[in-house]
Symmetry: C2
């Protein structure tokens, strides 16, 4: 099931969309779905759907299409969400607090196991089930709680320092919300979230609507 050809990032993104749509279909107790139908729900051609899935194997059944209950675990395996990921949030400002409680993460198997800040006024505060811990304690926590992902929610000017600390603590995955480009070594993985990009998809449509 491992990819032989390099997989375009956009195809990975679409796998997540297919998974969401399949989970919706399963909730409706649908058993099978065609590439055409899956594509139509997401504004894609059926050829695109088949091509995306072909990167990872043969999932369809001739004359049947895809079996919903079969394809869901296969996509989760490809995306790495068929396992639990332990996640820490670095920065206990509004965004860090919001993401610590974000239901969408828990629904997909992400456990937030720690929330850290270096502001003495915040350390010790309760945020949902968590208590804000000192950044100084990050390294020991990472070992004790088997942490694989750090979500960076500190201001832009502190993001690289905090990222370096996370990497030195042994966290291999960085999910960055700070509006800055981070430098990470090749032995680690980094994804940055730019919330304005989604807003631009809205304004693209809105411009046409309002003109």
């Amino acid at each position: 099931m491992s990819a032989r050809r390099p997989v375009p990032k956009a195809a990975i993104f679409r796998l997540s969309l297919y998974l969401r749509e399949l989970e919706r279909l399963r909730a409706e107790t649908r058993e099978t779905v065609s590439s055409r139908e899956l594509g139509r729900a997401l504004n894609l051609t059926d050829a695109q759907v088949r091509k995306d899935l072909t990167y990872f194997g043969q999932f369809g059944h001739r004359g049947v299409g895809y079996r919903v209950s079969e394809l869901i675990p296969q996509l989760r395996h490809i995306l790495g969400t068929d396992r639990k990921w332990n996640v820490v949030v670095l920065g206990a400002g509004n965004l860090g607090r919001a993401l610590s409680a974000y239901r969408g993460f828990r629904n997909q198997g992400f456990n937030i196991v720690g929330l850290f800040d270096n502001d003495p006024a915040k350390i010790g505060q309760d945020v949902g089930d968590l208590t804000v811990e000192s950044m100084d304690a990050l390294s020991t926590t990472v070992q004790a709680r088997d942490v694989q992902i750090a979500i960076i929610c500190v201001p832009a000017e502190a993001a690289q320092t905090v990222t370096d600390l996370a990497l030195r603590s042994g966290i291999p995955g960085i999910f960055n919300f700070a509006p800055v480009t981070l430098e990470v070594p090749g032995s680690t993985v980094e994804v940055s979230e730019d919330l304005a990009i989604r807003l631009e998809q809205l304004t693209f449509d809105l411009s046409k609507l309002l003109s």
Copy 2:
């Protein structure tokens, strides 16, 4: 510059990425860039870059490539970010507070002109430059401040009600952070943000790294 063929959503997304890369190049005082170079920076083929841009017109110059200072305003015009958008945030919990202050929005021309909640304990609180207002005041505010976009940051169970209120108040664009599918009429535009999808791109790479 309007599209004659339907433009795939993924192409719009890539326009935003091209724009970010062009802005980075401009900061380095670069004057021109080829489709190959633009593609390489974003892990795309040069054919993909050219195809995406062709949806909207002819931007390249033979033997020169794209002129950075020319293409930036053209992409901003296509994406609708060459104008100011007035935005309200509905829900003054941690996420609403975080987004009200999110620098990435302001950088791209989004003005947050109001933050609303229906919790009497929150109404009247100061959040940065804003004061939390009552949801009851939304309709009059929308008229007075010429609001085009509402960011929905209320819990999932309240999201549809608050969205309906925003639409009735005359806001045509909805940017939804609640983990729920909203119903909106065809005369409006809705984009939902699922933060877990970006995390899944991280776990896709991380799974390969750790296996």
